[in-house]
């Protein structure tokens, strides 16, 4: 650990506000972007699975 205390770590000399806001905004943007990508994948997968179920039902109906 380069800093002597946790407070010093947060203050970063006098530049704490710059460093932490830069990292905060970056984390938010990157996190949001990854989250949206994962959500879109989940939705797409659910859509395909719904199609499979519906087909299975149709097949079951026609064989009855």
């Amino acid at each position: 650990m380069y800093f002597e205390s946790f407070d010093a770590f947060l203050q970063m000399g006098k530049h704490g506000i710059y460093v932490w806001s830069a990292y905060g905004i970056s984390a938010l943007l990157i996190g949001l972007n990854i989250g949206l990508a994962l959500r879109a994948r989940t939705l797409a997968r659910a859509e395909v699975i719904r199609l499979i179920r519906r087909e299975a039902l149709n097949v079951a109906d026609s064989t009855d």
Binding site: V19, A37, I52
Partner: protein, 251 residues
């Protein structure tokens, strides 16, 4: 030896060029890649923020470098890979190529924006103002514009295949252009002699700063790669939703 390597490469090219193979193996790959990406990013950033020494001139504000430089270089790398994918898509009409462009563009634009925002915030303690038209920031702004152009084009064309091919062409044109833009912005900078953001130790960076920088760079690259793979898989699921193989793969 060389021909064996070449053969392996062409085999991979054909295998990964097929949506089915891609879907199957990218799933396996992602299981390893996600943890690796998260560990590398966290290690690099925590090391850089808490353990690396302060810069003797800029003090602790230089610690923004550990996100700024990885984001900027990943944005550039992403744009170049879109151009390569575009060329492959146009010349060999490979289906996966335009899927990749669609997958790369959103994260690339976000990373360009991150590089700009962190650069601006870094500018305040360094130059005393958030925005200076320095060569690095200006090039990154233009890079963001180029990404936004590709995204706007993809969104404007309703047919996904046509959108992908149009984006391929635009990316190829854009990559050729990016080199000239970079050169012209540097010349423009020298013409007006503005201030340049000096990235700490541009020539020789001590190892205790360089190591965390390289690790967080690797981490951001891997996060980018993971998200690109996820987006590509999403697009495959949308396009191939009627194919039998996809249904079997998901059951």
């Amino acid at each position: 030896m060389l021909s064996a390597v070449w053969q392996t490469l062409t085999r991979w090219y054909h295998q990964w060029g097929s949506p089915r193979y891609f879907f199957q193996y990218s799933g396996v790959l992602l299981r390893w890649l996600w943890p690796l990406a998260i560990v590398a990013t966290m290690t690099g950033l925590v090391w850089g923020l808490a353990f690396a020494p302060a810069d003797y001139q800029q003090g602790d504000s230089y610690r923004i470098i550990f996100i700024h430089v990885p984001a900027a270089s990943a944005a550039l790398l992403g744009y170049v890979s879109m151009g390569v994918a575009g060329l492959v898509g146009l010349v060999w009409r490979m289906k996966m190529a335009d899927i990749m462009i669609k997958a790369i563009a959103p994260f690339g634009a976000i990373l360009a924006a991150v590089a700009l925002i962190t650069g601006a915030i870094w500018g305040k303690p360094t130059w005393g103002t958030y925005w200076v038209w320095d060569a690095r920031l200006t090039s990154m702004l233009l890079m963001l514009f180029l990404y936004l152009g590709v995204i706007a084009l993809i969104n404007a064309i309703p047919d996904p295949r046509q959108a992908g091919r149009a984006a391929s062409l635009l990316s190829v044109v854009g990559v050729i252009n990016v080199v000239i833009v970079k050169y012209s912005v540097q010349w423009w900078q020298s013409l007006h002699q503005g201030s340049t953001l000096k990235v700490v130790g541009e020539t020789a960076m001590p190892a205790e700063m360089l190591s965390p920088l390289l690790i967080s760079m690797l981490g951001i690259y891997l996060l980018f790669a993971c998200t690109v793979l996820v987006r590509a898989r999403t697009e495959i699921m949308r396009r191939e939703r009627k194919s039998q193989w996809l249904k079997e793969a998901l059951q």
